[in-house]
Every structure is written in structure tokens, then in C-alpha cells.
């Protein structure tokens, strides 16, 4: 199936054969992808600008709306909502459109310029990149990579096998449960990192910053080591099986455990 949806077409609802791969490229507007056990379907509206191109073959869905260079000032906007099986591979690019995803547990990646990335209960191989968009997730599981320049990153509840979070000036607020042998790294330049772990967390925490304040659980002053110029703090919770590494240049790094408050 191939077709174009124009401004005059209004909102189109298209039933699709079961999807296994979805690629969407938008400029502005709204994008929602949701995993559902029911039949796959696409709801689409070209709100402004060039027609939106749709192609669907053998379970591969492609959706694209271009922004013509000579009409850069004109707004290009589309509303796209895809329902597909939870195991679908989903890949999205957008300039300013927020990418909202729920219930996808296969492979998921999104790249935006200023669009927010908002994900609820996703898992598997998960990757989010944005320049200034905020990345906000709830109930994420699996392996997660997040990268922003100035966008804040927040994970409200997650059970992760691994995490690689990076930002330049964006702040990281993370409430996660760690796994045995899991690997969790956060790197920022000036962004703060505030991480909360369960009270029975089993992890080795290493925090290091050039000039940012450090606060990790139960790190006695004697355990602070370091060469001149770089502050380090190390703390072992439980048997210390998971590895948590936080680094910054000037951002403050803090780790808390649930319930018990922790002294610097």
C-alpha cells in the first residue's frame, strides 16, 4: 500500500496488516506509537504543509513528511498515531513533534531536535536522543541509552538491565531499580545527576566530578579518594553487584536510597 495524505483529506484511519517494523519521520505535530495486542492501525492527519507519504509492505510501515527547503518558514505539521504489536521495531525522527510511545517492548529508538520524548512502559533495546527536547519516561525496562544536549532526562520508575545516559547541560533525575551485574553510567558536563535506588539496592557506586558536589550513600569521609582536582566518592551497597558510574565536570552528583536519608 502506498499513498499520500494531504491537508484536504482530514483525518484518515487506516487498518493495516500486522506490523513488525515502523519508521516515522516528522517535522512538527504529534506522534504516538502504542503497542497493543489488537489489529494494527494508523490514524493520520496532515495538519499543515506537504502531504504525508505512507508506504506499507510486508509488515514494514514507512511514514514521512518532508519540509521543503524553499518553504522553510511554512509550518509542516502532521498528527500520526500508530497501534502495532508490542514486539514491533519502532524508529522515529522528528524536529519539533513530541514522540510519545507506550507499550512497545522490542526495539525502540527516537531522535528529535526540540521535540519531547515521552515514553510509558516500554522495554527491550531502547534509545532516545534529543538536542533540546526533554526525555521523560515511566516504567522503562531493558537496555536504555539516552543522550541530550540541553534537554532534561527523567526516569520515573524503571527496571533496567543497563543504562547509558549522557547530557551536556541537561539534568538527570533517575528513579531506577538495578539488576545484578547491571551496568549504569551517567555522564554530564554541567547537568546535575540525582539518582534514587531501592533501599535494598545491591550496587557499587562510583561518582567522580571535577567541581560538582558529590553525595553517595554511606560514603565515609575516609573513603573519598582522588588525585588533585577531581573529587571521587565510592560506596558499596549490599554485595555491590551492579556497577553505577556517575561522572560530571561541574554538575552535582547525588545518589539516594529509598526511605533512609543519606548523609554526604
Amino acid at each position: 500500500m502506498e499513498r499520500a495524505v494531504c491537508r484536504d483529506d482530514g483525518r484518515q484511519v487506516i487498518d493495516l496488516d500486522d506490523l513488525n517494523e515502523v519508521h516515522v519521520g516528522l517535522v512538527g505535530g504529534d506522534l504516538l506509537v502504542s503497542g497493543t495486542p489488537g489489529p494494527s492501525r494508523l490514524e493520520i492527519e496532515c495538519v499543515d504543509g506537504q502531504p504525508v507519504w505512507i508506504s506499507c509492505h510486508d509488515g514494514l510501515l514507512l511514514i514521512e513528511q518532508h519540509q521543503p527547503a524553499d518553504l522553510a518558514s511554512r509550518r509542516t505539521r502532521a498528527t500520526v498515531a500508530v497501534s502495532c504489536p508490542p514486539a514491533t521495531l519502532v524508529s522515529a525522527r522528528s524536529v519539533s513533534a513530541p514522540v510519545v510511545v507506550a507499550g512497545i517492548a522490542g526495539e525502540l529508538r527516537a531522535t528529535t531536535v526540540s521535540g519531547d520524548i515521552v515514553w510509558s512502559y516500554v522495554g527491550g533495546e531502547v534509545a532516545a536522543r534529543s538536542v533540546s527536547g526533554r526525555v521523560e519516561m515511566e516504567g522503562v525496562s531493558g537496555r536504555l541509552r539516552v543522550t541530550t544536549v540541553s534537554g532534561d532526562i527523567a526516569l520515573a520508575g524503571g527496571y533496567l538491565d543497563s543504562l547509558a545516559a549522557q547530557s551536556t547541560s541537561g539534568n538527570l533525575t533517575l528513579d531506577i531499580e538495578t539488576r545484578q551485574e547491571g551496568d549504569y553510567r551517567c555522564n554530564t558536563v554541567s547537568g546535575h545527576v540525582l539518582m534514587r535506588l531501592p533501599s535494598e539496592a545491591d550496587a557499587t557506586i562510583e561518582a567522580s566530578s571535577l567541581s560538582g558536589r558529590l553525595a553517595v550513600p554511606a560514603a565515609a569521609e575516609g573513603e573519598r579518594t582522588g588525585r588533585p582536582g577531581r573529587r571521587r566518592a565510592r560506596s558499596v551497597l549490599g554485595s555491590g553487584s551492579a556497577a553505577i558510574r556517575l561522572r560530571s565536570v561541574s554538575g552535582a552528583l547525588a545518589v539516594l536510597t529509598r526511605q533512609e536519608a543519606v548523609a554526604v
Binding site: L32, E43, E138, T173, D175, A261, V262
Partner: protein, 209 residues
């Protein structure tokens, strides 16, 4: 997310699910979730009271199987469902086609969670810092010094401690060299209390310049 169901919507939806076959409570929660693209998860606290009120109305009945309640539709329930067919169709239509509102609702929900988390962590960090400050004051009082003390204070404290040690030493030495009568001890203690008051007054006084 409440607006997913208008008034009575969830009730009707539950009747529909039970019309398909008898089910237990958890299964109903999961099915409602599935039907709404995994975006609306009713809690047990939403579903169970709804089921008992349906039971009171005589639309639903239950039996216990292996300690779990299996709910089924009664004839009155089937009649109710039949009477409200149009409403149900509308509801299902809405469930399937409100994807855009769903996106908004998901955003709002995630945003709420994130905001709550930020608030919570901010409060916790504030408490931690407050405890730090308190611990700092305590250790200062215990004379171990503190990195929260102002830089000049540490040297001052050391000097004072030396003076106080010497003061105590002098007084004890004088006391040991004297035969201590009860009135002498009382007089010394009064003098010490006076001295203490004078010293504390110095701490409380505003700086002279």
C-alpha cells in the same frame, strides 16, 4: 486518565467483557488495559468496588473457584447490556479512535510521575542537607571540628580548648592543695557559675565593631 471513560463507561465495558465469558477480577483489569492500548490501567481499587456495585444491582454474580472470585453476567445484566447497545458502540469507537487524546493523556501522566519524583527527591535532598548541617553542629559541639564550621572558627576553637584545659588544670591543682570544706566547695561552684554566665554573655553579645 479518568476521561477515558465518561460517566458509567467503565461499568458498561465491564458488562461487555463479562458477556463474552465469565472472568475473574485481575483478568478484567488486564482486558480493560488491552482494550485501551495499554494506556489505561484501572487499579484493583477501581474495578472491585465497581463489580460489587454491579452485584448489588443484580447484574452480575460471582462464585468462588480455588479461592478466586469468578464473575458472570446475570440475565438482568444481559438485558442491561442489550438496552444500552448504542452507548457501548459509541464507547468502543471512542476507545479505538481517540489516539491523539491518548497521546496527550500519556504525556500528562508521565509528566505527573516525573514531577512527583522531582518533588520527592528535592525534599529528600533538602532533608539530607539539613541533617548534614545538624550533624555538623553536633560534631562541633563535641569538639571534633567540622567542615561546616566557618574557616576562622577552627583555630579559635583550638585556642579556646587549650585555655579551658589550662583553666581547669589550675583550679583542680589549687583544690587538691587545699583542705576542702563544704562552704569552700559551694563558694567555688558559685564563682564558676558566675564565670560561666560571663563567658556565655560574651558569645551572645553582638560584635563590638
Amino acid at each position: 486518565m479518568k476521561r477515558v471513560f465518561g460517566h458509567g463507561g467503565l461499568r458498561l465495558f465491564l458488562l461487555m467483557l463479562l458477556d463474552e465469558q465469565p472472568r475473574h477480577g485481575y483478568e478484567l483489569i488486564r482486558l480493560v488495559e488491552d482494550r485501551f492500548l495499554g494506556m489505561y490501567t484501572p487499579s484493583a481499587g477501581t474495578i472491585y468496588p465497581r463489580l460489587s456495585s454491579l452485584e448489588e444491582e443484580g447484574l452480575v454474580e460471582h462464585e468462588e473457584v480455588d479461592g478466586r472470585k469468578i464473575y458472570r453476567l446475570t440475565d438482568a445484566g444481559r438485558q442491561e447490556l442489550h438496552d444500552r447497545k448504542a452507548e457501548l458502540a459509541e464507547l468502543q469507537e471512542r476507545a479505538a479512535e481517540s489516539a491523539r487524546q491518548m497521546a496527550g493523556a500519556i504525556r500528562a501522566e508521565v509528566r505527573d510521575s516525573v514531577r512527583e519524583l522531582r518533588e520527592e527527591l528535592r525534599h529528600t535532598m533538602r532533608d539530607v542537607r539539613r541533617q548534614d548541617r545538624r550533624a555538623g553542629r553536633r560534631s562541633e559541639a563535641e569538639g571534633r571540628g567540622s567542615r561546616h564550621a566557618r574557616p576562622g572558627s577552627r583555630l579559635g576553637l583550638q585556642a579556646l580548648r587549650a585555655d579551658l584545659d589550662a583553666f581547669c588544670g589550675d583550679i583542680l591543682a589549687a583544690a587538691e592543695a587545699t583542705e576542702l570544706r563544704a562552704d569552700t566547695v559551694k563558694a567555688v561552684r558559685d564563682a564558676l557559675l558566675d564565670a560561666r554566665e560571663a563567658v556565655v554573655a560574651v558569645f551572645n553579645a553582638p560584635p563590638a565593631y
